[in-house]
């Protein structure tokens, strides 16, 4: 039954995709050439004005452009024009640096907050205020104080990725079952050992959930940050193509951002499955 469910789901997925592409294709058909236009004038105008071509690209435009990008992902034609593979590589690099910094800060700090009710109460207001700030709001401040755009981008990823991990770690650590801690205490296990052998494994699933949320946020932030800072990365690519009003390339970038984001998410989901335990 489950095999046929998967099959049926796949059929529905494909059908939905086909309907979507067909609708897209029909909606972006050109409305036919404009008549009575001076040919000399027409030569100076774009296809939107002369052929009645839709301003939105159709699925075929996107598919052929996507093929073009995928067939040469690593070309490098100077500082402002690099292949999509290189751009995504830059973005992933930045995200990983910012994210790992956030892990290094958030998990120990989360432990501290989770194990000490005093620190929890003391730090809570700061966390609550800093948590909802948008990455774009941090950007000018970062640029102004750090005075280096690539470090600013990494800082913004860090500052946005740190909170979900911090909160989840603190929550996971604080809600380790009292019995387990008490048993450890009865057996006279030291604090440090207790943290690593009892609390960490018990809180690991919650911590991983926080890490999973964070990587999603980091990947969201990178696009915004690179659009502002420019230079390299998939966000810069979107901005550069937006500059040229090339919606085709913007759609391709959106697609790729989604794929990479999904990859990160699935990766952490796998890791999370490794550390879950039955109660």
């Amino acid at each position: 039954m489950s095999g046929s469910l998967t099959l049926r789901a796949a059929i529905v997925s494909v059908a939905l995709f086909a309907v979507f592409v067909l609708g897209w294709h029909l909606a972006t058909r050109s409305s036919g050439a404009t008549s009575g236009m001076d040919p000399e004038y027409a030569k100076l105008m774009g296809a939107t004005a002369t052929q009645g071509k839709s301003a939105m690209p159709g699925p075929l435009d996107v598919a052929s452009k996507l093929w073009e990008h995928l067939s040469q992902p690593f070309y490098d034609k100077g500082p402002n024009d690099k292949g999509l593979g290189i751009q995504i590589g830059y973005s992933i690099g930045r995200v990983l640096v910012g994210y790992l910094l956030a892990v290094v800060v958030a998990i120990p700090l989360g432990f501290l907050i989770g194990m000490s009710p005093l620190m929890h109460k003391a730090l809570d207001p700061y966390i609550q205020i800093l948590k909802p700030i948008s990455p774009l709001a941090w950007m000018p401040l970062a640029l102004y104080t750090i005075k280096d755009s690539s470090i600013s981008a990494i800082f913004v990823i860090f500052i946005c990725a740190v909170w979900p991990m911090l909160i989840n770690t603190a929550f996971g650590v604080a809600s380790v079952r009292r019995e387990w801690i008490n048993v450890a205490r009865t057996l006279e296990v030291g604090t440090l050992r207790r943290a690593f052998t009892v609390v960490l494994p018990a809180a690991a699933p919650t911590i991983l959930t926080g890490m999973r949320i964070s990587i999603g946020i980091a990947w969201l932030v990178i696009v915004a940050a690179e659009m502002l800072v420019g230079g390299t990365g998939i966000g810069y690519f979107v901005w550069n193509e937006w500059n040229n009003l090339s919606i085709t390339n913007v759609i391709i970038a959106i697609l790729l951002i989604g794929v990479v984001g999904m990859f990160f998410d699935q990766l952490l989901a796998r890791v999370a499955r490794l550390v879950t335990f039955p109660e």
């Binding site: 105008m45 939107t48 100077g78 402002n80 420019g230 500059n243 040229n244």
Partner: protein
Amino acid sequence: MTDRLDPRRHGQGLCSCCGSEPADSTLSCESVPSGALSASEQGLKNRVENALLRAILPRAETRRAFLKAVGGATAAAALAEVFPVATATEAFAETGKLEKKKLAVGFIPITCATPIIMAAPLGFYSKQGLDVDVVKTAGWAVVRDKTMNKEYDAAHMLAPMPIAISMGLGSTAQPFTVPAIENINGQAICLALKHKDRRDPASWKGMKFATPFDYSNHNYLLRYYLAEHGLDPDQDVQLRVVPPPEMVANLRADNIDGFLAPDNIVQRAVFDGIGFIHILSKEIWNGHPCCAFAASQAFATEMPNTYAALLRALIEASAYASKPENRKQIAEAIAPANYLNAPLTVLEQVLTGTYADGLGGVKKDPDRVTFDPFPWESFAVWILTQMKRWGQVKGDVDYDGIARKVFLVTDAAKAMKDAGLTPPTSVSKGFTIMGKPFDPSQPEAYVNSFKIRKAG
């Protein structure tokens, strides 16, 4: 003329330098690919090669016989093989040792930046021994911050920006300089197609317009134009700052009624059938400055040779761009994704001045945008009067002092002379904007002569 080796080869145009040189000077002419080499550089290369040849074959008769036997091109090639002629030429061209060769120069992807951008693909930077990365940047504020942070050694800015930065308007104060203007003219007012019957600005009350930046001549010219037609730009219309690429999208979405923007943005709106060109900015003020090449004063004083080389490259690029016959080649060089990332037709229409107006007509105006690097001090004074007029600066303004500190007439004149151009002899000139004369020696009276302005 025994040593005029192969006269048939001299019809290629680049050899105008050869006629005046003595003896063997025609040697190198055909070994140089057609391209962006200026007459002065060609001459220099010839002289270097001649000197070499004279050193190898000191006797004139032998030299001539040798040249006659093998031909000028072969001789030049043979010479280049044993001796790095290009390096020697470069060494002669340099006036001092470059403190830094790898530079980053920021730009905004608009046709105003043409000299800064084209100098990379057409080799004007490398000719000065510089390795310049021209880096595309997201907006004027980011260009400003990255240049102030020294991530960029120099940058393309709107002409009023270095003045604003030097005065600490909208940023912390840091002394900035304009050793060269990028382009003059090169903007236009674009309106949405639905307004094609509302050509009288007096009827524009309540409309929404976009300009690229507060400290821009786009802003000042649009305000000037509206005010001359009796509209108070702060009361009767809405002006908002919108990054140029978003202007076209906003016009399509009907969020704005029009904009005054760099020509390639305007032409793009026409190209996509969204807007039409109401007037070119040259119809407001023919010969107005638009964008500038800007560097911090610190860069100019800490690395004088690099700064001078960069300036020479830009002045030569400007001179090259000012010639109409080069414009098509330039459009091709700056269109790829690495630079402007724009359709070639659009850039050609801007740079050649044969353009579609968006209403079905083809217009021809070779001065639509042009390139003249001289940073007249009176340009800066006029900009300051408009800053005062619209309340961006308050109180007394030291018009001449600021103009002299920021717009570096002397540096530009020296670089122009080095490039074989004749700089103007005066530093200031008056001009007329929409029929109203501007006297740079009476800035305060000029500000006060406007009826529509921000009180204060």
